[in-house]
């Protein structure tokens, strides 16, 4: 584990029209860890995510990726620097095939989209990378399918494959279980766990459901009313009185 965090926010805040959505969030994600952000609806989890990935610009504070201030960089630059994310709303391209979806992501990671002409090896490499990623998430036999025909659970797997094909250093997963049927949840949890363990990927995920997070995350950050309430191990979070009052008391 490196001394400096791979991803960090400092005093991060967002005000929209006088309303404070996120305030003073200082969060450090260590290389190789799986950190989950939880909190009740409206706590600012997804907004924090959008600030980190660059979809929103903060009104105060900074976002640092591997020690570099990326606050002013647009999403695609952050993505190219190794910050890959999924969205709460399933964000695959429904009319493209499963393989094309992943290929697009692999192409993006190559950064080669800037040039019209590319060496054939680079194109083939993206194809192979896509095939590998589809196999990694268990969708190998679905390659030619239009992505729109996949089940919710399989769409989530496809999103994960798209992320992996992009070789991100940090995976941002926005509510990966949203819209997934209960029986598909354990399989998806296991997939995220194995990607984290086997590929050694750093993962920052937002999740609404406590039970998904406790068995998966190494550390948990709790958000409440746009602020960071606590960051600690799952056991410590469960025993934290402030957290229980603010979050668990409301939810459970």
């Amino acid at each position: 584990m490196s001394a400096s965090p791979i991803l960090a926010t400092r005093n991060l805040g967002l005000d929209i029209g006088g309303a404070t959505i996120v305030a003073d969030v200082g969060l450090e994600v260590r290389e190789g860890e799986l950190l989950a952000v939880i909190g009740p609806n409206g706590a600012g989890k997804t907004t924090l995510f959008n600030l980190v990935s660059g979809l929103h610009r903060p009104t105060s504070g900074t976002v640092e990726l591997d020690g570099v201030d990326v606050t002013d960089q647009p999403p695609f630059r952050r993505a190219r620097a190794g910050l890959g994310r999924t969205f709460q709303v399933s964000s695959v391209f429904p009319l493209l095939s499963v393989h094309e979806n992943v290929r697009l992501s692999a192409e993006a990671a190559n950064g080669g989209t800037l040039r019209i002409w590319r060496r054939a090896t680079a194109v083939r490499e993206a194809m192979e990378r896509a095939t590998w990623a589809i196999g990694r998430v268990g969708l190998a036999d679905r390659g030619p399918w239009p992505a729109g025909l996949l089940s919710h659970g399989d769409k989530r797997k496809l999103e994960l494959a798209m992320l992996l094909a992009g070789r991100p250093r940090v995976l941002l997963l926005d509510e990966p279980m949203a819209g997934v049927s209960m029986e598909d949840v354990p399989e998806l949890v296991e997939l995220i766990r194995s990607v984290h363990a086997d590929e050694g990927k750093t993962i920052l995920m937002v999740e609404h459901h406590m039970e998904v997070v406790t068995g998966l995350a190494e550390r948990i950050a709790v958000m409440h009313h746009g602020r960071l309430l606590a960051v600690d191990t799952p056991d410590a979070i469960m025993g934290n009185e402030t957290v229980r009052q603010a979050y668990l008391g409301e939810e459970l």
Binding site: L55, P75, A79, E107, A108, I116, G166
Partner: protein
Amino acid sequence: MSTFLLLTITGLGLGAMYFLIASGLSLIYGLMGVLNFAHGVFITVTAYTLWFVESKIGDVPVLPRFLIAALAGLVVGTVFAALTELVLIRPLYGRHIEQVLVTVGLALAVTALVTAIWGSDARVVTAPAWVGQTTTIFGAHIPNDRWLEIATAVIVLFALEAFLRRTRYGLIVRAGVENRAMVTALGIDVRKAFTLVFAIGGLAAGIAAVLYTLYSTTVDPQQGTSLVIFAFIVVVIGGLGSIRGTAWAAVMVGLVQQYANYYASSGLGDLSVVLLLGIVLIARPRGLSGSFA
């Protein structure tokens, strides 16, 4: 029968030109959400470049002279289209009202400029002789330019399909038509694709301008605008962002226009196209193809 055949081939030729113009409009709207009212300018720029070059190079036989002039027109039209995106559209990215205003403004300005410099009268272009002759099929004397129009449009259709299906940029364009924000989030700079799509649209419209110049043997400041009106109707009927839908709609509009002008009354062709638009929109509000095909 021979009249019907002539009308049909002519309608298909007209549809071919509508398709060439509409395919660019459709891709630009599908990918960028820009209603490009300046699309007729690409026709005007190509046609006037063609006429200008053709009138300046003497001492060259008609065919090579026309080909050189047409090539010059296509290059200038394509570059002009790419510059339109880079200079006027890009700074207004995501601001649709301003984009409409700037494209309408460009259309008005270029038309006025061309009229001010070369006048509002049509200028004559000498087309190769073969184009003006006819080929007789089943007793119908079909002007040769119709074949050229249809064949060119079919080639462009296949080329566009191949570009969209087989190339990396085509993949990015198709993905962008579905969900532009998501493509950006993946780490792809779609702005390159925007410029490329504008250039392709400008080239296709330019090809239509060359064909229309062969057909009419003249260029005038208004022809771009009048062709684009029907191209817009074709785009709406075909479904925004769909190349195949655009092709079908172009054929329908071309044929309906020709048949109505002949069998009903001259001038009813335009009206019947609007009626067709109304019927399609009532039956299928999102156009023939709905979304990208």
